[in-house]
Amino acid sequence: MKNILLIISNTFQKEIRSKTLIFLSLMTLGVIVGLNTLLNFLGEKVLSDLGMGQAGGLAISGVTLMIGMWCYFLCSFLIVDTIRSDFEKGVTSLLMTLPIKRFEYLMGRVLGIWCIVACFYFVTSSVAFYLFNSTTKMSFSISLLGAFAINLLSYLAMIAIGLLISLYFKKLTGLAICMVCSFFIHSSNTYFMSKPISDVFSDFEIMKFIGASFHQLLPRIGVVSTVAKAILLDTELQINYLMESFHYIASLTFLLLIIRFLFKRKNL
């Protein structure tokens, strides 16, 4: 555990300097401030009689969704960047000569990046809420925290998927594959979420089969983010929450075990 904490702290020190992270943070804050200024202006000139609370609620939902999307990008970018740069600079092999297990190193990196993404998500969402709250007098909703917590689960799964990819592909290729995978998993999850698995065989197509394999074998980040969105927008979903929770835990554990198996046998 001590080794994992040491690698988490090292990941923080390493990636907190990431220009992409700094750029995305500044850009997100810029969008939030811009949107808030617009709401302020509309509140004075147009919306004064139409209910600023509702407008603020919509604005914060939109901004939270945007921040959520950035977070997927950050998960992919940071994990690929940190793992590949360790490989390319020969630091991985140097670390592995110290008394640390290979899987502890990977877990330290995954959890470190998860913490950075969670901080980014929390800080930018809090700034958005604070600004919109003062402008529109909207009240704090527990659903914001609920969506935050649920989204963190999908980010963890995305980081694990990015980790698997970064073991074999270089930075740019790895990032591109991560983004394609993320899109493909989201699409297949959205398609199969409301359909029984037998649907794959009713009208067999190869893409449908691949999509169903992604849906069954990998953590359903699309379903998790849909649940977060539903909590945020206060809409109802027709899914089996118990089954989905079990699937998430089982598939993430399976994915991490595969990564452990592969990394243990990898020549450094």
Binding site: K2, N10, K14, K89, S93, L94, M96, L98, P99, I100
Partner: protein, 236 residues
Amino acid sequence: MSVLVANNIMKSYGDSLALNGVSLSISDNMVFGLLGANGAGKTTFIKIVLDLVKADEGTVSLCGHDSTDSQARLSIAYMPEKFSFFTYYTVRGVLDFYGKMRNLSKAERLSQIDFALKKFSINGIADKKINTLSKGQLQRTGLASTLIGDQQVYILDEPFSGLDPIGIKDVKDLILDLKASGKTVFINSHILSEMEKICDTVGIIDRGELLYNGSVTDITKKETLESFFYKKVKKQ
């Protein structure tokens, strides 16, 4: 007692055979040098010992532990040919990281870091970042990192590389100090004249095969290590 035992190590990369049944046993409290031309299989052997590369066949044991066990690495210190670390760390930060990884208390870390910095005359650059160091300073930092903790086996890959004459003398003194304190030092180097002076035993490897493994004194009774090495490798 043997601190490093390699049994019948086989490794190939595609069709190319890197190591062909290398067996080696290194006793404690000695300086062992692995000699070989470029591409002979020295680095592959070291990487297998450190469990960075998996052997196709054979086993390696380090201080009684299988080399794949992370506990085995508690008893070894490794210095690569080109030391590299996270560029935003200071020299002191690197040594502190090593100390934490090797389970040292804060007091132990402080005293050992001070000792290592002085030993390699790098106390003046202790707070400089890694990316501002010269090649020689970086090598000294790597060597200093091996002194953090209490290891039994020191594996040094080309330790003289990038060092000035003073640095080379410091490294030789370090190796002799380590031997005097009962440690085992495994060196991989091309500089045969230096190896002749500091090694107790040497292994000569060529095209993945161990051609010789024995005492340096036995060799130097008749000829220099350099001419012995040349004959062995040319005979192949």
